[in-house]
Each structure stands twice: as C-alpha cells, then as structure tokens.
Subunit: 356 residues, 4 copies
C-alpha cells in the first residue's frame, strides 16, 4: 500500500454481519468503505444509502431489480471489486465459497466468515491468538462468534500457563432478531445431535494445541449465546490469578451479578445505554464474581453477542492481510479505540470482584 493511503474495502452482503462490518470499517482512520453489494430490494437495501454508503447489485439483473424498486445503485459487484483492496464476504453460509473464485480472478484479498469451511482460505483467524500468521496472506476466515469467544478466553488461560483442558456447554440463541418472524424455536430446547459439537474442533483450526470439547443446545431466545465452562487447570490457582489471566485480553470484559447485570437482557440494555450502534457487545462478557476456582478446577460463564463479537476481529483481519502493521497488538489497539472496546463497561474499578 502506498504510504498514507487508506485500505479500500468492499462488503459483500449487508446482513447482520455485513452491516456491522461496514459501520465499523467506516470508523477506522486507515480504511475507506467503498461500497456494499447485496441482492435484496426492500428496506434492508435502502439502509445502505440511508447510512451514506454506496450500494451495488450482485449482478446486472440485481442492479435492474434494485433500480426498478427506486434504489440508488452505484453499479455491479464486479465494478465494486475493481475499486477495492479487500473484500469482506458477509453473504449467507456456504455462498461465500462460490464467490471466492471471483475474488481470486480479481486478485483481491478477501475475508470469509465462520460459516465457511477452514479449507476455503486455509487460515482461521482470532486476533489475540494468531494475527501474525495471517500477515500478507491472500485470505483468512474470521471464525464464528462461538469459536471466537472460545479462542479469546482459552488463549488467555493458556498464556498464563493455566490451561490443561476445557469442557464447555454452549447455549445458542435460536435465530437473529431481524429474522425472528420467519424462523425460530418455541418453548423448547434443541440439543445439537452430536457430541462433541463442531465448535471445539473449530477452535483447533485457530490453535491446534487447545484441548477443548463442546456440547451445544439451541435455546428459545434471540439475544446472545451463553457459554458455561469447566476447565481442568495445570495446577491449583487462586481466583485473582485466573482473573488476571483474563485481564490480559482487551476483548474480555468483566461484568458482575452484584452490579445488577444478572441476565443477557440486562447486558444488552447496557450496550444500548452506552450508545453503541445496534447495542453491539464486541467483548466476551464474563461474570467475574460468578467465576469459581476449586483447587485445580475452574468454572465460569460468559455471554457472546453473536452479531457483534466478530466485528473487531474482521477489522484486524483486514489489516493483517494488508500487512502494513506487523504487530497484532497495534491493530487490536486501533480497532478497540475506534469501536470503544477495552476498559470497564460500566466504570473503572467497579463491578469487579474485590482483590484480596
């Protein structure tokens, strides 16, 4: 990249992830949000231009349909791709796999989401774990919301030399709010048919050294996932030592029952009160006062905003592919500053267990 020039970004797919990525890119000083491509012609597409972004159609046919619906369209996806350095694919699961050829023909760097297979890019990304190995690559995959949270937390324990093996139960929100009128589950719980569920092995695509087994179940709510962990540590440790390990991650935020943050809805309301767009919780929100150490065992729970948690990782992944910054920490700090990530959610020093 010529010095001082901004990284030019296209977002393909303006869904729950795409619109958040586009908004986050627009907040980065070193990036320029060139345009968004999509296929729909209703209110969702209108939000692209309403939010000041350029709208492109996936094909000439889509462009035609969009214009017929009164949308202001800047051109086709193909034309958009001609103007950017990196494309972030946020199309629905398994569709990205078909787009990759297009990106490659264009010689573009690209990012796919966690719904795609590791093999589509050969690299799976979580900023605090393996940013460096993504430097200058053609492409990477930002792993799913669940996997991102797992790698963030277990990497923190591993860095502190505490992690032997981790066994988790994952409560997955059943559908996203924007499509909760056409899909979902009602008054039931739906276990993943297989144990282990795929998230454990998926975390190993980022860090093959993690000894992790997950079980997963769909629950009838739309707000966020909730993880419960039972960790065998390498040795007995104190609670403060464990909290200190988690504190080394800027993307794990402590919350506490004693501050009234007693359920998913309360934490989500906090995000809205903080004025975050879409009430995004980018962090793993981990209950610090609930966390329990029992000899060499560790038990804790945290909340994962499945719509938001991968957004900072995606921004870091963009920078890694471009390779201007050689240290993950630099990118992480830039991203965090732009998105308001890091530090206490409710005020310095409050809501944390008292140090003893």
């Amino acid at each position: 990249m010529p010095e001082g020039q901004k990284i030019r970004i296209a977002v393909n797919g303006y869904g729950v992830i795409g619109k958040r990525v586009a908004g986050a890119v627009a907040r980065q000083q070193d990036m320029s949000m060139i345009g968004v491509s999509d296929v729909v012609t209703d209110w969702r597409a209108r939000m692209v231009t309403k939010n000041g972004l350029s709208l492109f159609g996936a094909t000439p046919e889509h462009v035609g349909a969009m214009r017929a619906a009164g949308l202001e369209v800047a051109g086709t996806l193909d034309e958009l791709l001609g103007q950017v350095d990196v494309v972030v694919d946020c199309t629905p699961k398994h569709i990205a796999a078909k787009n990759i050829d297009l990106y490659r023909r264009r010689g573009l760097k690209f990012i796919v989401q966690g719904g795609e297979k590791h093999s589509t890019t050969g690299h799976s990304f979580v900023a605090e774990s393996n940013c460096v190995s993504a430097l200058d690559r053609e492409a990477t995959r930002v792993v799913s919301c669940n996997t991102t949270s797992i790698v963030r937390t277990l990497t923190a324990l591993k860095r502190a030399g505490l992690l032997q093996r981790a066994r988790g139960t994952l409560l997955r929100r059943a559908t996203d709010p924007w499509e909760s009128h056409e899909s979902g589950i009602m008054n039931t719980l739906v276990p993943e048919p297989e144990i282990p569920s795929h998230q454990g092995p998926d975390a190993q695509t980022v860090d093959p050294g993690l000894d992790v087994v997950t079980m997963a179940v769909k629950v009838p709510e739309t707000l966020a996932h909730l993880h419960y962990w039972s960790v065998q540590m390498t040795r007995p440790a104190g609670k403060e030592e464990v909290l200190d390990a988690f504190r080394t991650s800027s993307r794990i935020a402590f919350i506490s029952m004693s501050e009234g943050l007693v359920a998913l809805n309360a934490v989500k309301e906090l995000m809205a009160d903080l004025g975050r767009p879409h009430a995004n919780l980018y962090e793993v929100a981990l209950w610090a006062d609930m966390l329990r150490v029992q000899d060499d065992e560790l038990f804790y729970a945290y909340m994962v905003d499945n719509q938001a948690i991968v957004i900072p990782e995606t921004i870091d992944a963009i920078r890694a592919l471009i390779g201007e910054l050689r240290e993950g920490a630099e990118s992480i700090a830039m991203t965090n500053a732009a998105l308001g990530v890091g530090g206490s959610l409710i005020g310095a020093g409050v809501g944390e267990p008292v140090r003893r």
Copy 2:
C-alpha cells in the same frame, strides 16, 4: 422565562422512560438537562454519569448509598429541584402521585406519566390533540403509550371528518426488555379481565368526543404493542382519502409489508439501522398497504413502541407548560427535528401505496 434562556429540566427516575426523556431533552436547543434523580446504586445509575448527566439521590440516604457504591453524586433530589423550571416525573407507576406535593411546595411545573391518574394533574396531553389547553398550566399528564397512539390516529381521522366510532383490539407486550429476566409471561396469552379495557376511557381524558372501545390482551413478546382497529366512518371514503387523513400527522409513519417490514422485529431492526438511540420508534408505525376500506368501514393495524412513543409528547408538554411557544405546531416541529421524526422512515416516496 427570560428571553434566550433555556428551560431547565430535572428528570426524576432513570428507567425506560426517564433515560429516553433525558436523552431527548439534551437534544433540544431550548432546553437544558440539569440532572437526574434515582434510587438505585447499580449499573443503571452508573449510566447517568457515563452519559454525561448529573446524578442526584432521591434522599440523603440514597445519596449515601450511591456514594458508598462509588457513584459520583451531585446532591439530593431536593437540591436538584431547586435548580430547575420543570420536573419530568418518570418514577414507577403510582409513585409520582406522592412526589407531587414536593413539586408543588417547590412551586415547580411538572409532568407525570400515563401510569398516574388524570386527576393528579387535571390535564392529559397528546401534542397533536390538545397542546393548546396545556399552555401555562402547572402540570400535565403525558398519557400512556397505547393511549397516545389512539389519540394520534383517531384525531387524524376526526380532523378529516371521517371518524364516527372506533373499536380496537390491543396486543400488549408483556414486559420491557430490561426487566424481562424477572417478569413476563411464557407461551400464553393473558386477556385483560374487563371489557372495555382502560385505554378507551383514557383517550377520552384527552378528547372526550372520541367514541372508542378497546379490548386488550397481553402477549408473550417484549418489543412493542400492536393495535388492530375497526372504524365506523361517517361516510364511505376512498383508501387514499384515509391515508391523506393520517398523513396530516407528522407522528404517524407509514410502513409497508411490500417493503419487507412484515413484523414488529423487522421495524425495530429498521430503527437500529437508522442509528436511533435505543432503536426508538417515536412514531405510530401504520401499515399503509394492509389498511383496508370497505364502504364506510375502515380496518388497519399499527405498531406502538411503548418505550419511545411518549418521548416527543413529553418534550412538547414541557414547552406547553412554559408557554413560550403558543402554537403546538411550532413545538412539534422543533421536537421532530431534534429527534429525527417526520417524513418517510425508509426514503421519500417509497413504501407507500401507489396513488391511483
């Protein structure tokens, strides 16, 4: 009020309504948000100062408890009241009734919410209906979310000479998101035991001339209320004539099924996409393409954001009590501009039924 001086406001109670009122007051050029009073000491109180407002405790005891919890407190409610022109009471239902003596002793103008009785202030307020009758009064009551929507819509029909009588079925959200971990209903519907429900008579406290009967039922969702209406018009009318009547209100926004806004969750997502704080829907969101005229009968449905719809009314009520502006329309225009209310939600001319 001395010319050029801003109206000084206190908000008593920082709950779902109070925090929205405080945020809306802060956006008005002619108002100054002096401080917020509350009784809690947890994350909810921390949001007051986090959002740049001054926090007061309801009593010296509350101030003490807040300081013990590490909160920065500016003083007591009593001290706050000494610095303002108008206090907006947003305390929980029926508590305001006890605060009124305090406000009166202070010689303050005050506003109570729809949970209180009409008799507490002797005046019930909906901006487009009876703003003028509130001018210079000591106090008014901003009616409830449901009643506000009823008066807005029926007033529009009445202005056009179309309204004979209206019969409505009101689907009420069961609890607010922020407290949905401790109250609510599950997988059931709970009819109000009495027909008519109280909303019809309540609308008559604003406009005694309305012939309106309501039936209400609690439904297991937290997003918004939904009203269905069957209206006997004074005469047969065309659909466009009815839509034109609704168009005379700047606080009724048309939405349409054909634009994909097919359910409460989709409309709420739209508000988040528009970047509105708390994804507030201040307008009555009325489905224009679903609306049906059959001879002299009219059928339609709309969505009511129970947390947000009364916010613009509250702002107008403040101005009415102060009496600087003598025309409701002026205040309404100022409030709308400050909050982004008015005009099409998704783009000029789109999402409306085609004129024939």
Copy 3:
C-alpha cells in the same frame, strides 16, 4: 349401511389432527377404526401400533421403509382403502387435493381438512350450522379451527336473531407444540399481510349469510388461538340474552376470569386435569364474565384449541356422509357423549355470570 354394522374408517395422515381423529373414532360406538396410513418411520409412526391401531404405508415404498425401521405394517394405503366406508384425510395442507382422485376411484366417501379449498369437495362443514346439507354426500370439508369457532359462535347469535355483522381480530398460535423445534416465531408479532384475512370468507363457505370481517396476526405461543369480537347486533339486548344465545350451542363452553381461568395456559391445564387425551379442548372456550354488551354492540373473546376443535366436527361429518342419522342434533349428542363435550367444564352452575 346394513343395520347394526359399524361405519368403517380409515385415517390418512397421523399428525396432530389425524391422531386425534383416530382416537375419537375409536370412542364412537357406531364406528370402527380400521387403520391409519402415514409416511414416516420414526417415533410418530410407532405410536400408531402402540395405541393399538393398524399401521399402513402410503405406498409400497413407504411400507418397505417402515418395515426396515422395525415397524409392524399391515399393508398399503390402497389396501386400507379397500376395507373402509369413509376415509378422513389428515395429510398436510394441499396434499389431500392429490389424494381425492384415489378416493373417488375407490368410490369412497371422504373428508378433507380446512387447509384444502372449498372447491375440493364443494361442501364445507360445521355441525351446528349445516349438518343436514352434508347428508349422503360423497365428501365434505371440515373447515379450519378458526373458521369452526367463528361459525359456531355466530350461528348461535344468528339463531337468536341478534347477529347483524361481526368484526374479529384473530391471534393465531405460531406453530404446533410437536414441531416447535423446527418452526416458529420469536419475540415478535406477525400480522397477516392482507385485511380481511381469509377466515371471514371461509366462514361464508359454510354460511353465505354471515356478515363477517376478520383480521389476523401470528403470536409467539403454541397453545391455542384467541379471538376478539366486536359485533353489531340487530338491536339492543341484555347480557343474559346473549349468554342464552351462546348456551344453545353444546360446543361453546363458558369459562370465567373469576374462577382463575385467566389465560390460555390455565384453560389448557384444566383440560389436562380433566384427563382429556392430549388435554384437548374441543369447545370454544368463551369468557362469560368478560363478555360485554353496550346497547346494540357486543364484545367478547374466546379461546380455540387449534388441534382439537375440529375433532367433534369430523366425527359428525362422517355420520352425515353415511346418512344413517338424519338429524344433526342426534349425531352431535352422540359425539359429545363419547368425547365428554357439553355441560360446564368445571362443575354445574359454577363459573357462570350470576343471572340477574
């Protein structure tokens, strides 16, 4: 039918309706439940034989798959049809339309469900309204749960000369419990896009003289539908007169708020306590104390168990097609006795508004 011989019945499709029909047929003294046909091979099919019924496969291929799964299969649907007088089609929506040719080739009398069009049989059935016109016919359609409840209640008002026009808002349960793990809506309300919704016109396929308009909305619960009605009567009437009109139907059961039956879940629990299979509510459960008369207007609400309400109608429809009994009332009485329908749900004389 030779005297003393039982009507031989096949049920095609063992879903929520089919299994209830099969169970109800088995309780009729004048009917013989010959067999059930289906296409699935899992636990649902196992319930057929577990409940003592004969299981048939829709095709030889299905029979093969069922046997491979260890199911005891009596033969094919075709073989089943050779042994019966009437087939009740309970296959999913729109599939019955394809089966009709098969039934006709066999010279069988048949019944389809409300998901099919009126034109498939040319006759739509609700026992208390038009039983006589179904006598000796080849086929009829038992209308949907919602429509059945509408015709039952409005027919009662019409018989008493009270009905001018009826306007209803229908809250529809979003999915059935047994499939609530794979479909549904979550924390939202989904209006039917069109007003009027189809139930009004559908009621007119049974009784063209009904002046009825309906609006419908899907709600996030699985238990039952709930209807709210606003009726213009032909003249002012007293509440007792209206209740007496409803009392002429043995399939409208009064419930009351004052007895604690304050929501759908409570009524459903009552059905379970009564020991009814599947906690079936065959009646329209109408809140008698909530019902309100205001001059010549009438307002009321009732609950409709969408899985159960059509079961007694289906039994009566079978008898009507066979034509042995020439009076609807005779069949209704037989069906009611066999299913425990009729009389007070909670005890004679209790739970009803006091007569004045």
Copy 4:
C-alpha cells in the same frame, strides 16, 4: 400396618406436584387416597372433587370460603390428618416447614418436597440410591426434580464402578405451564448467581460420596429441564459399557435423535401420545445415540420433567416410611408397574444405539 390393610394417604397442597401424587397414589394397589387439602377456591380446587377425591380446607376459614364458592368440602386438614397414616406435603416452598409440627403432634409419618431443607427431616430420598435408609423413619424429603435426576444417573455410573467426578450444566425451565401467565422470563437467559449451584451439594445429602459440581441457568421455556454432563470416569470405558450401566436403572429411559426425538417438545408430545396423565415423563430421558465416550471421559445430556420425575420417588418413599416392604426394588417395581414406567418408551429394542 395390619396385614392386607392399605396405607392411608393425605396430600396437603394440590399444585403441580400434589395433583400428580394424588393421581399416582390412587393407582397403587396397596394405598388408599383419603383426601386432599388446599387453600384455593377456584377451578383448581374444583378439580379435586371432579377427579373423585375428597377435598379438605387447610383451616376452618378456608373450609368456609370453599363452601361459599360452592365447593363440596369434607372437612379441615386437621380432620383429614386424623384419618391417615402418611401425609405427603406438597405445599409451596418453605411452607411445609411450618406444617411439620402439626404432623408430628399428630404422630404422623410425613414426606416433604425438595424445596425444603434436608434438616427438616434429616433424610433425603432417591429410591434407587438410599431407599433402605428410609425404612421405618418418621419422615423423609423427596429431593428436587434436578437432584433426583442427578442421583439416579450418577448412582448408575457409580454402581458400575465408572464414576470419578461429574460436572454438570443445568438448563432450568423458567416456570410451570399452569402459572406461566404470571411469572416467567422472556427472551433471555438468567444464570444462577453462584457457582456451584445448589443441586450438587443437594445430591450429596442423598449420597455424600458423589463428587459433583453443578452450574445452573434459567431458560425461557416451560416444558422441562435439560442437563449436560461431563464426567471423569475411573478408567477408559466403551460406550456400550456406559449404556449398560444406565440400563441398570428402570427410571432412566433411552431416547434417540435418530427416532426423531430431537428436542424437549417432541419427547413431551410422545408422553401425550402414550396417554400418560398430564403427559408425565417420570423417567430421566437420556439421549443414547448422542452420548459420547472419549477415553476416560463421558459426555451426555438428558431431559427432566420437573413436574413428574419425583412422583414415583414419592410413592416409594411412602412405602419406605411404612416399612412393610424391606427391599427398595420391590417397591420400585410396584410403582413402575402402576405408572407404566420401565422398558422402552417407544417399543422394545428400538431407538437404542446398535450394539457392536
């Protein structure tokens, strides 16, 4: 007890547990259901006599109120207690503690439910674990639904010498269906504030030798609890060996994903199809095909019907206190036969993992 004489039982409290206990007692050949005591006067009380049982009022005042409501009342609780050998207390949490003095003064044997403390009786009961230690006691506590399931399953593993330690995550239904109109949580998850949750220590009141830690979370559904377990075994074992261990319990029923029993709602529907009263699932329903063994670790999940699982235990507890039968297995077999417990839920040999 004189030979041939039935054990005479009173049930105090006709709620979700009480009504099931009363129904189950009525099915036992060696027991006589003398009467039920309660305090309410609405439909719930009417079900007592509707179901052929005698109704008593908790106090003379309650008797008066019941009679005023038209209920047929046989007398007071005190009078009821004079006619029985054992009273099963099914009053709401913490109320039983106050009743105990009354029972003791009467010299009655009594059973309290899991909501009470262990110390109220000094003995906590799960039939397959410690039936013998309850023989001839004055009283015992049937532990809660969650604890019952934990003890049943871990006892089976322990008997086989496989259990070292067990770590569980418990998803708790938020409220019971019959009161879901007045309590519950909506679209959120509510973690228990403390780790470990109380169920682990509670299991140790039955078997102090269990090394068990539990974490619990309230989920927004009403059907049943769902447990996920991660067990450290004493040694590597095969899956069949583990299944065989569970097969030694007649109150653990295998279900399987491959049979379509893929979620709580499907299993509950199965219970309704089986014709069980209230669709009761008395067994721990454990997914056999989902269960996973990995070296010396074991992972599995099961469903717990919180309204029904303690019913067979309560019946066995009655017999233990009376002491006529000296072997737990005899009582368990009698109870199982009377309630239809034991054997495959859907047919012999089906729905089980293939033996290899």
